[in-house]
């Protein structure tokens, strides 16, 4: 039985595409309001999990439970979830405002307030000044914010992110990380975030799920993964890689300090 504050429970998930088994025996849960990162190298099955969760892919076996209800066979739009893709997937022919407003206008209950909600969402991601522009006139970071606003507009209680910052430069990623956390706090949304970047996962997540080759190696808080890596793979892929980054950065920190001193 899942805990009272458990939002999603995934049981014995299995995905076979053609003759290849992509995922097998996948079990995990996500707490309400949690920020869970799924961390692993390319091709390890992270995106497949996301597509099953949102309903874009039928699992070969297993169940997806949300708020105690089996949603394994529910349509993507009936799951109360939203998704943000790496490539933004914005409607290029529409303005920023129309991108956010479009789905709302098709919803009878929200049609009347669609403009108001869309503007509010654009304000939340700091893009109200760009409402009338076409997406192609925005930077990558701004386009990703539009995609987030569009998802938030339908008020989902879970948002899935499929490597949303992979195509962005370092500066924009740092800013967007903070904004995403702030949005999560403001809207209380559960977020499941896919990344292959260890640093990103550790900077943002309440818990991290480390995966490789269709198998979950460990799900735990960032601190516990560092302290007690479940196996050699986690130690190598997560702890060792992070250590390398820290080492290289610490070398330069002394250079920076020396540089500052000489400047003075």
């Amino acid at each position: 039985m899942e805990n009272q504050n458990t939002k999603i429970v995934v049981n014995d998930l299995k995905v076979v595409l053609g003759r290849k088994t992509i995922l097998e025996n996948i079990n995990f849960d996500v707490k309400d309001g949690e920020f869970l990162s799924i961390l692993g190298p390319s091709g390890c099955g992270k995106t497949t999990i996301l597509r099953v969760l949102i309903g874009l892919l039928n699992p070969t076996g297993g169940t997806v439970i949300k708020d105690g209800v089996d949603i394994t066979k529910a349509a993507p739009s009936k799951r109360g979830m939203g998704i943000v893709f790496q490539n933004y997937a914005l409607f290029e022919n529409m303005t920023v405002l129309k991108n956010v407003e479009y789905a709302l206008r098709l919803d009878k209950n929200r049609k009347a307030q669609s403009r108001e909600i869309a503007m509010e969402m654009l304000k939340a991601v700091g893009l109200e000044a760009h409402a009338k522009k076409k997406p192609s006139r925005l930077s990558g970071g701004q386009q990703q914010r539009v995609a987030i606003a569009r998802t938030l507009a339908l008020n989902p209680d879970v948002i899935l992110f499929d490597e949303p910052m992979s195509a962005l430069d370092v500066d924009t990623r740092m800013i967007l990380r903070d904004e995403l956390k702030a949005l999560q706090k403001r809207f209380g949304t559960t977020m499941i975030y896919i990344t292959h970047d260890q640093e990103e996962a550790f900077a943002m997540s309440d818990r991290i799920m480390v995966m490789d080759n269709g198998v979950i190696h460990q799900i735990d808080t960032p601190e516990n993964i560092i302290k007690n890596p479940a196996n050699d793979y986690v130690r190598r892929f997560v702890v060792h890689n992070l250590q390398l980054k820290i080492d290289s950065l610490s070398r330069f920190s002394t250079v920076c300090v020396k540089g500052d001193e000489s400047a003075q």
């Binding site: 949102i54 309903g55 874009l56 039928n58 066979k73 529910a74 349509a75 993507p76 739009s77 799951r79 979830m81 939203g82 998704i83 893709f85 490539n87 933004y88 997937a89 914005l90 409607f91 290029e92 022919n93 529409m94 479009y102 789905a103 098709l106 919803d107 076409k134 997406p135 192609s136 006139r137 925005l138 930077s139 990558g140 970071g141 386009q143 569009r150 339908l154 195509a167 962005l168």
Partner: protein, 531 residues
């Protein structure tokens, strides 16, 4: 979960292809019998027409591709001005039927040709020389467009690297340019060869006694429209097209997606540019000659005996039903344009925007028409639909033209769909926006330019085709392009010239209209900026 309603559409489109492509083709092949084979093999004319076809097509392909390569190099690798104008003039022959090219040459270089007289030549160019010249005029624009396209996407980086390493120009050409062009050249050679070997317009007009396979097929059809021998001719004509299709398919399988890092900017070169100007101007004059000849001959009393101005040919053309046939052609072309574009669009939507085995099968069916020459397609329709309610109607002409010209517009929109973000439908599914809505509100607005190109392509080609419709049209459904055949048979040069001119003018108007429309649509297109 996702219930793919596009499957119903795929089934419907598959049925369309099975009825309009596969079954007629099977019927042609099933019509082949041993007795007809035996009979044909015993006729010396049969092997002679195969030999003639191979000789004429090989020579035409060599000349056409060489000229196309030269001209596309002149435009892509020089700093000459008026490149767009040269391109428009050089592709003008694409707007008239192949038989008109033959007629144009006849008017210029036939026994009583304008140039024959001027140059004081003793005889005309009937036979192999005429067929090669006419076929080059007819196929050159296609080869030129294909090669210009390939050259415009070439990356400058390998040349810069070669220059830094001190590799001379000749070695750069053999080591970089030729390998880059090799795969495309194979495609161009096969496309041109297939075009020429299956064409009967040029050989009919200027071939004289030099009979090629398509002309033999046509003669056989006039003798007996249900003969098994027709199917044998059809099957033989299918071979080069099928070979071209398979090679193209294999080439695409092997090709890796490349991108242009840096466009090639030709260095300063006055001598080179002057030479390029000369080549382009000479070729433009050669291309424009037959067209000017049409215009002149349509208003000359009786060339070469009476060169006074007359409207007789125009009146005669109208008297013989030219106005009705023109309306027929306009109706059929407009319908082919709209119906063909709609079917090709939906087909490409299914194959490019959905995945699975069914999509791949539909894609293969959609491009199959590339492997069927118009003459064979027309023949297969004659055999398959003969006796049905469709036979003898404008509708069958619409279908045959739609299939005949299907592959190119289909591939245009297929490629456009593939460039558009693949996750749009996924996003739509999560936002409760249905696939038809995404198609209507997002995909169609983003592909308007391609849609206009598709409409134009279907219209222009349908307006001038002869091969696909020659077996199927009757007196009520006759197309204006077919009048050239009739006038040719009655040696009415002025009328044939006038009909060719009408087709050219209509196609020019349509092309210009669609060009303006596309420009207007482009104005509203968002400008891409860096991320």
């Amino acid at each position: 979960m996702i219930r793919d309603k596009s499957n119903y559409l795929k089934i419907l489109l598959s049925v369309f292809f099975i009825v309009c492509v596969i079954l007629p083709l099977i019927q042609v092949l099933a019509n082949i019998d041993a007795a007809s084979w035996q009979e044909l093999l015993q006729q010396p004319k049969f092997s002679e027409s195969i030999r003639n076809s191979l000789t004429a097509s090989t020579l035409s392909t060599l000349v056409s591709v060489s000229l196309a390569l030269l001209l596309s190099f002149c435009l892509a690798r020089s700093n000459i001005r008026l490149k767009n104008m040269f391109k428009i003039v050089l592709t003008l022959p694409m707007l008239i039927p192949s038989i008109s090219h033959g007629w144009g040459l006849k008017m210029l270089l036939g026994n009583n040709g304008i140039l024959t007289k001027w140059l004081g030549l003793t005889e005309g160019i009937y036979g192999l020389t005429g067929i090669v010249m006419g076929s080059v005029m007819y196929s050159f624009p296609i080869a030129f467009l294909m090669l210009s396209d390939v050259l415009s996407y070439e990356d400058a980086s390998p040349y810069e690297a070669a220059s830094v390493l001190g590799i001379n120009k000749f070695r750069q050409f053999t080591g970089i340019t030729l390998p880059y062009l090799s795969k495309s050249l194979i495609s161009v050679v096969f496309s041109v060869f297939t075009m020429v070997v299956t064409d009967y317009g040029v050989p009919t007009a200027i071939g004289g006694t030099y009979t090629t396979l398509p002309v033999s097929l046509l003669k056989e059809f006039e003798l007996n429209s249900q003969s098994g021998k027709l199917s044998i001719y059809g099957a033989i004509l299918l071979l080069p097209a099928v070979a071209a299709f398979v090679i193209d398919l294999l080439k695409k399988e092997q090709s890796r997606s490349g991108f242009v890092n840096k466009a090639i900017k030709p260095r300063k070169g006055v001598v080179r540019d002057l030479l390029c100007y000369a080549v382009c101007i000479v070729m433009c004059v050669v291309v424009l000659f037959p067209i000017v000849a049409f215009a002149m001959l349509s208003v000359m009393q009786n060339y070469p005996y009476d060169l006074s101005f007359t409207t007789d040919h125009i009146i005669k053309t109208i008297d013989q039903g030219g106005d009705v046939f023109l309306i027929n052609s306009l109706i059929v072309s407009a319908l082919v344009s709209v119906i063909g574009t709609a079917i090709a669009y939906l087909c490409a939507y299914c194959t490019a925007r959905t995945t699975g085995l069914f999509s791949r099968a539909l894609h293969l069916m959609s491009i199959t028409s590339m492997a069927i020459p118009g003459l064979v397609l027309g023949l297969s329709y004659t055999i398959f639909f003969s006796g049905s309610a469709l036979y003898g109607t404008l509708a069958i002409l619409v279908f045959v033209n739609t299939i005949h010209f299907f592959a190119s517009p289909y591939l245009m929109i297929y490629n456009s769909f593939n460039i558009i973000n693949k996750s749009l439908e996924d996003v739509g599914a999560t936002l409760n926006i249905s696939r038809p809505r995404i198609l209507r509100d997002v995909l169609i607005p983003q592909t308007r330019g391609t849609l206009v190109e598709m409409l134009s392509y279907f219209f222009v080609n349908s307006m001038m085709t002869i091969s696909a419709v020659s077996f199927l049209a009757n007196i009520d459904t006759r197309q204006i392009a077919l009048m050239i055949n009739t006038f040719e048979a009655n040696s009415l040069m002025g009328c044939a010239a006038f009909v060719s001119l009408i087709i050219l003018v209509v196609n020019l108007i349509v092309k210009t209209t669609f060009y303006i429309l596309k420009k207007a649509l482009k104005k509203n297109k968002p400008v891409k900026t860096a991320a």
